[in-house]
Symmetry: C2
Subunit: 202 residues, 2 copies
DNA sequence: TGCATTATTTACCGGTCGTTCAGTTAGTAT
DNA sequence: ATACTAACTGAACGACCGGTAAATAATGCA
């Protein structure tokens, strides 16, 4: 906890924009135009800097993407490490993880949005896809455990169930906006309700 | 029925590849690398032709995308025109349309895959997004009607319900493969079951 | 055979891309 | 003042992009 949160800022040399601001500007542009269609020149323009200045903060365009994807994946993987993911029945653990995933989606919206658009055309993207599949595998195991427990329907393959579940959850990035009328907690409740009980009136 | 299905092939002049083959090759590449990252040269290479030859069949890269998106949107809009979309209770009509959407997703998989990745950076993409939103609006109306009927839960906004529903359904393009072990009909049954009854054991 | 028609190729254009490099500017520390 | 350091600039690079023009090749038909 001592050095992980340590971001003291060196205080030497000419002041300028910081790495995080550069990254967020790039990510915003990546989302707006797509990664490939976003040029370094556009990012530089939005920062009010020259194209070469961007390379002072990140050595390559792909490294900016990599840093963004790491933010998203770190958040999701973090949920699996929390106590709630290992406490109680399989159904309780599954609910905890799904709710945690919704929380990461909303709190790190731009990064996760980028992650969900990655298709694996470069090494950076393939590594991100690998970690994402790993996360999916953990949740699939939770679904299978909940099914063995008798708390989740057993007529559909757990892998299909998990994919449909994440199809629903991940779609949040397509339309959720933090400044909208709906709070993140309320959204999580609605998503969990739809996922568990479905569309039909009870 | 007379001229719509009429694709007789003129039978005159030098033989060559036909438009549909060019389009399908382009769409496959678009999906694999992304639209922007796919160059006309790559499409030409896969066709075994020169870059200029591709321009003989389609006047621009964007028109290939437009033709593909039209295939997807035409299919979805067609579901709303079928008799089943206007027959019976709102719940029955909704089920019919959802099942129809799954059918189009699986039967026109590459085209719909492309449609679901469109972000609206060009005129062609913006027009496609407009038609897609129109389709969504029709389904939202069906959900609202089913809620008024009492057959669909009333504790969640119909717009949120519809978005989550299509989040689940649309995710099919991310993992469904026609040559896999699962038939399209079986998949449709599972998706409908998850959407209507949810995850929980009954 | 020759003509119309369709398909395709070679060569090229202007422009944009990600990236690099040598040098300059604006601050802090002594 | 002077030294040091991080932040930044302008110009250029080779590669590749979407698209075009004009010539050529291959077919059916008269």
């Amino acid at each position: 906890m001592s050095e992980l949160n340590a971001v003291p800022a060196p205080k030497k040399g000419r002041p300028g924009v910081d790495r995080q601001y550069v990254l967020d500007t790039a990510v915003t542009a990546f989302i707006e135009f797509g990664y490939d269609a976003t040029s370094m020149g556009m990012i530089a323009e939005r920062l009010g800097l020259s194209k070469a200045a961007v390379y002072h903060h990140y050595p390559a365009k792909a490294e900016m993407l990599g840093a963004a994807l790491d933010e998203a994946l770190g958040g999701l993987e973090g949920v699996l490490l929390e106590a709630g993911a290992h406490t109680g029945s399989a159904e309780e653990r599954l609910s905890y993880v799904l709710r945690g995933a919704v929380h990461i989606l909303t709190s790190r919206l731009p990064y996760v949005t980028l992650l969900l658009r990655v298709r694996g055309n470069t090494d950076v993207e393939r590594e991100a896809l690998r970690r994402r599949r790993e996360f999916d595998r953990s949740v699939t195991a939770l679904v299978a455990a909940a099914r063995d427990e008798g708390s989740v329907r057993s007529d559909i393959d757990p892998r299909v169930v998990t994919r449909l579940l994440f199809g629903m959850i991940n779609s949040i990035v397509e339309w959720y906006r933090p400044d909208g009328p709906e709070s993140a907690d309320q959204l999580a409740n609605e998503v969990l309700a739809m996922a568990l009980e479905g569309l039909s009136a009870t």
